[in-house]
């Protein structure tokens, strides 16, 4: 098991599959909102990523969420596009903990 998963409590490990599933859905929503240049909604999703990524063993999501939130506030299309790609790559490369 990756170290990141060892650092979170068994309580939250149980919730991880639900959390990862919701992250994937939200990242797909980010692409959709980006296509419509809806920076307000991008900002809300990014803010949520920032808020609890670390709690679930994903400080990268917290950091990328913060970055995207600032870009959305600035209506920075290029920056937001880049960060959303980073988020998607990260999630694609993520190895979830083994199921018990």
């Amino acid at each position: 098991m990756e170290d990141r998963w060892r650092r979170i409590s068994p309580d939250l490990l149980e919730l991880l599959p639900t959390y990862l599933e919701s992250l994937r859905k939200d990242s797909a929503r980010l692409v959709d909102e980006l296509n419509h240049q809806n920076f307000l909604k991008i900002g809300y999703i990014a803010h949520n990523f920032r808020g609890n990524g670390t709690n679930f063993g994903l400080p990268e999501i917290t950091q990328l969420g913060h970055q995207l939130e600032l870009q959305a506030k600035a209506c920075d299309l290029a920056g937001s596009t880049g960060t959303i790609s980073q988020i998607q790559e990260f999630l694609q490369g993520l190895v979830p903990p083994p199921a018990e």
């Binding site: 409590s9 309580d11 939250l12 919730l15 639900t18 959390y19 919701s22 992250l23 809300y44 803010h47 949520n48 920032r50 808020g51 609890n52 990524g53 670390t54 709690n55 679930f56 917290t62 969420g65 913060h66 939130e69």
Partner: protein, 464 residues
């Protein structure tokens, strides 16, 4: 955590993952968590439940966290709010604290810090609540027009203290004359809607055919006799409190319509098409047992659950007789009678022994009447109505004065005389004497023992 303590926490966050995370941490700590996805949902939930504290995210669509916080601070200052947000800018922190946040935590949350902060918030809320309760108890209740220092009334005041910060619908149970409308007014005056109207409707006093029009109002021409538009009570109570007394008397069709108004928060006047928004706090009352009415099919179960979010049981006066002296003084003061200062010992004993089937309203009537007939500085036993003094006995056509003739005669002397008279009249027949005196067997024999008259029955029987 104590089972008796309120351990309900609202978690208000548009992020389902955050709600899931907090739910896991807080439930394990023994709290009961109500997850809510918006400020609007939080305000709606407050009409059903009063939490010990609220965890509130600031960054939410719609009403948003700061607006929600402001509303909570203005209407429910007693409930601590802990703000949780990823935005840690000084500006946001200052805004939140100025709007009354108890504390502020930055996301991603630290579990230990969160639990400690919430524990402190809940404890602070409890202490503030207890301080207001104590202030009320020392100040004699603190609800104008409601007199009582007995334990049953202290329990009522404690419940009122809890309810004043809430918008929950309240169902007041109590016999006739126990003060249901007074309590409803107290709820209104001590709550956030005190600047709005208090509208009272007695469902039993209005003919069924007119009740709908009374509640909903009507448009001109909506029925024969509707010569103009009439504003109904739902509309009059907007931004205030609607008190529906004797709610069990509503017909089933009207109950269904009331339920719809409570669910949808809009209504139509009779004959009207427009949906009119209604924003009132509903307080209802009944002397009937509504659960029994539901069982008998006379009251809708779904409406009952809507009305009885919080139930208050008002004690009958006979269960709080220690309040009678204070109530009497309050009524004397209320009548503005400067001649009569109080009540004699003998009269008070009689008043304390009477059962008060009409409760406080009956006591008030008795005092009002006594103030008119009293010719001294005190209300005396002779100034009280006969039914309260105990029914006078006739012996050979002569009426034996049922009341103490002077304030020196005690109730005990009087009761002993009555007992002897009854036994003598019926020649020792205990059953007949009991019927005459309108008392039960246990009380009769207790009185015989108390006055050392147990021998009297045999004496009278043998003397026939």
């Amino acid at each position: 955590m104590s089972k008796e303590a309120n351990n309900v926490l609202f978690v208000v966050d548009d992020d389902s993952n955050e709600r899931m995370l907090l739910d896991r941490w807080l439930v394990r700590e023994g709290y009961e968590v109500v997850p809510l996805e918006s400020g609007e949902a939080c305000l709606d939930a407050l009409s059903e439940e009063m939490p010990a504290a609220i965890c509130l995210d600031l960054n939410m669509p719609g009403m948003g966290g700061l607006n929600t916080l402001q509303h909570l601070h203005e209407n429910l200052p007693a409930v601590p709010v802990v703000v949780l947000t990823a935005d840690d800018s000084v500006d946001t922190v200052v805004k939140a604290m100025r709007l009354g946040a108890h504390d502020y935590l930055t996301k991603p949350l630290d579990q230990t810090k969160l639990l400690t902060t919430l524990r402190n918030a809940v404890e602070m809320g409890r202490l503030s609540f207890r301080v207001s309760q104590l202030e009320r108890e020392v100040g004699g209740g603190g609800y104008p027009g409601i007199v009582g220092a007995s334990e049953p009334m202290k329990a009522i005041f404690r419940q009122l203290d809890r309810l004043r910060a809430s918008e929950v619908t309240v169902l007041i149970h109590g016999d006739s004359g126990t003060g249901k409308e007074l309590i409803a007014r107290a709820l209104h005056q001590s709550g956030s809607r005190s600047r709005g109207p208090f509208i009272a409707v007695n469902s039993a006093a209005i003919p069924e055919t007119l009740l709908e029009s009374e509640l909903f109002g009507h448009e001109k021409g909506s029925f024969t006799g509707a010569i103009g538009r009439r504003i109904g009570r739902f509309e009059e109570a907007n931004h205030g409190t609607l008190f529906l007394d004797e709610v069990a008397e509503l017909s089933l069709p009207v109950q269904a319509k009331l339920l719809r108004v409570l669910q949808e928060r809009t209504f139509q006047r009779l004959g009207g098409a427009a949906q009119i928004p209604s924003d009132f706090r509903l307080v209802t009352a009944s002397h009937r047992n509504l659960i029994e009415e539901v069982r008998q099919g006379r009251f809708r179960e779904d409406l009952y659950f809507r009305l009885a979010v919080f139930e208050l049981d008002l004690p009958p006066l006979r269960k709080r007789k220690e309040d009678i002296p204070a109530l009497i003084q309050a009524f004397i003061k209320q009548e503005g009678n400067t001649r009569v200062e109080g009540v004699s010992h003998g009269a008070l004993q009689i008043l304390l022994h009477y059962d008060w089937p009409g409760n406080v309203r009956e006591l008030q009537n008795v005092v009002q009447r006594a103030l008119v007939v009293a010719d001294g500085r005190e209300i005396e036993a002779k100034d009280l109505p006969e039914r309260v003094r105990i029914v006078s006995l006739s012996l050979g056509g002569e009426e034996i004065a049922p009341a103490a003739e002077s304030s020196d005669t005690t109730l005990e002397d009087f009761s002993r005389r009555l007992l002897i008279n009854a036994l003598t009249k019926h020649e020792g027949n205990a059953s007949a004497a009991m019927r005459e005196l309108k008392i039960g067997r246990t009380r009769f024999y207790r009185m015989l023992k108390k006055f050392d008259l147990e021998h009297k029955i045999d004496e009278l029987r043998h003397s026939k």
